[in-house]
Symmetry: C2
Subunit: 419 residues, 2 copies
């Protein structure tokens, strides 16, 4: 489900794992022709969990939908040369490489010698080129110490960290890369000049600490954030359990959200008493944060006396900002923001996986037609098509490459091979 | 620290909280002239924690650096008209509104009546226009049930959820918005047509579940992810504590990382025994995941006998993928990826905050000069300048607007007012 915004743009993606493939997916969702290069039989991320019974990776097929796939043996010199030719092939909006693989034969300098308006975007671990992944970066952001319940309230030592499961820095890095490539294309259209772009995962993570004020808090106030469990920092919000054992998240961040919450929970009186007792102005978000434990006790009590249905009805009738906790199976079954009710999701059929919901871009553009979500290709599904359309090779030349084991078609995909 | 990529682009930002302001910051870091509109005295997010002793928000000043600020009383009709005029003012790359405030007088239709090539980008909670914030969306992604330690291993009920502290969906939404606006500018340059763009926070979050294979896992395999504590899903990785009580995160995702880890920890023998005993091929990441508890026991033992310094030296000499756990104060003090050693960070002086490190964009563009990071403005710091340069008002007209209380300059900022 992509848009025609980047219609003329062709991106060659040589990548693995999350950040670079998600950047490629994002560009393709805005209309770019993204061609992913893989080793014959699959690269190092081709068998990542979770796996379908066929052995096909749901992770790989999720991140590599909407792309064309070409399978090349890059251990052979002619294979490497083919990749270089694909990147530097003529075409106004071609000449773009997206990669997280730092190999000399795909370096900007090497490729720019063949096409001087080259745009390359390289995703790195750290800015000095050293290795890092989302999880070995996130541990240094301070966030794992703030998540979860406090275990050492009295001590100055760090509490036990709680890692994040969603690789947020990979995702942020992917979107920054997609934006950087788009800006570089725009600049090249205006000036003719290419760009050599680099983005380090740890720069994405640590710069966010600056943007959210956390780095300045540490520097100027000399203060480390305290563990806050499931509370929202700086305002009021937390999870609560209903009488029938269901769990909701509530946010009282803005004054309007707070007012709606207090009214819906019929707590105007107790909140006024609390305010007087603690000498806090609970219309101020910072005072709500300071009084969060006491506020939570009042709301807990109100929740314990009511069923989920009753609370849902009451909250929906007001302007309360809330949401239910859900597992992913429940989300698919019970939440009308996902699936048939939301045009963002389409039924697709992925080879080796079967039929399933797949999401396009969350960006909606009024009056602009979206195309259908294309499921992930088999490895090498577009090998012949790409060699012919991008490099202009005739069928004899393509056949020779197959015979020499330099390229392979979809029958080389393990899903098909082991059928 | 911005780039000239979006140099001609002028964006009017009417926003609050994180997603829309971060989108504006991102566009400004690529060179756009982003003008943030605020209420005189500040909008609903102007006093968000953390606060400097002056009362100035480190959160607000973090997200609103690199922008110009104009303070307008939008409760007055002339104030609203000024905002509309700023959005629709002439200029090839003007006519862009970035907002998360859904008010009729700033609707696309209203503004497009004044400038038909308008680009508007509206960030919403849910795609039906209903309210949601990061925390009330994240609770429905399933992630809070997977984070942290399992508390109900035998039960089919959900474990106690652990919320994320970093608002990842806000960040992802911000970058998608910045990309969407950039694509729309590129399309308008080519065709002359504007775009009406909308992005819902919950669409950003739930579509990610599709991209990462988690939605398909739930649908096709009918499987909910299990809580994994601090392990990395699908491969090997976890936190470990050294003899002197320091904590590291280790990742053995790729075969190369795993090999380096086993060698550096001198565990080739024990790992081979384990492999035979469990009948697992630990060179496969999925087998490593299945054997994670047993592998962790071996590494824990190795860590318990060694100091942080010893382990750091050994890991750095090899290709082990690892990172230390750090609080933000330690990050600033001890980590040379942040601060003076990395050109991403600059010293800036923010009014009401003082001098501190501030980050530009994590994107590095070889050979393209970055400009300096501009600290967050005082509210209304650019009121006169913007009215004059964008709307062409002369000083008499600007003076009248001040006299009528429709606009205000920097002296109206609470930081200055209460000095």
């Amino acid at each position: 489900m992509s848009y025609p915004f980047l219609n003329e743009v062709r991106v060659i993606e040589s990548s693995a794992f999350i950040a670079a493939p998600l950047a490629g997916l994002t560009l393709s969702q805005f209309g770019a022709d993204v061609i992913r290069i893989d080793m014959i039989g699959g690269g190092i991320d081709y068998a990542r969990m979770p796996l379908a019974p066929s052995g096909r990776s749901l992770y790989w097929t999720g991140l590599n939908k909407e792309k064309r796939s070409i399978a090349i043996d890059i251990r052979q010199p002619r294979g490497r040369e083919l990749v270089q030719q694909l990147v530097t092939a003529p075409g106004n909006d071609g000449g773009i490489l997206l990669t997280n693989v730092g190999v000399p034969w795909l370096s900007h300098a090497t490729l720019a010698a063949q096409r001087d308006d080259l745009i390359s975007c390289t995703i790195q671990g750290n800015f000095d080129g050293s290795t890092a992944v989302d999880y070995t970066v996130n541990c240094a952001t301070g966030y794992p110490f703030v998540q979860g319940k406090r275990e050492h309230p009295a001590s100055h030592a760090h509490p036990t960290p709680v890692n994040s499961t969603f690789p947020a820095w990979d995702a942020c890095c992917a979107y920054q890369a997609a934006l950087a490539v788009t800006c570089a294309v725009m600049a090249r259209r205006a000036t003719g000049a290419g760009s050599e772009l680099k983005i380090a995962l740890s720069d994405v993570a640590f710069s966010m600490l600056s943007h959210l004020g956390i780095m300045t808090e540490a520097e100027v106030l000399g203060r480390e954030r305290e563990p806050i469990g499931n509370f929202i920092y700086g305002a009021f919000g937390r999870d609560f359990v209903t009488r029938d054992g269901k769990r909701l998240m509530i946010a009282g961040i803005s004054a309007g959200q707070w007012k709606a919450l207090v009214e819906a929970c019929e707590l105007a009186g107790p909140i006024a008493e609390l305010s007087a007792r603690l000498d806090k102005d609970l219309n101020k978000e910072s005072h709500r944060y300071e009084a969060r434990e006491a506020i939570a006790v009042l709301i807990e009590r109100w929740f314990a006396a009511r069923s989920y249905n009753e609370i849902e009805q009451r909250f929906n009738a007001s302007r309360v900002c809330w949401g239910p906790y859900r597992g992913v199976c429940e989300l698919l079954r019970d939440d009308n923001r996902v699936g048939a009710n939301n045009p963002l999701y389409q039924r697709v059929s992925t080879e080796g996986v079967g039929e399933h919901w797949a999401a396009g871009t969350p960006v909606r553009a009024e009056g602009v037609a979206r195309s259908e979500v294309r499921p992930a290709a088999l490895l090498g599904q577009h090998t012949d098509e790409v060699l012919s359309s991008v490099l202009g090779l005739d069928s004899a030349a393509v056949g020779k490459l197959h015979d020499a084991g330099i390229v392979a078609g979809p029958k080389s995909d393990p899903t098909v091979l082991h059928r």
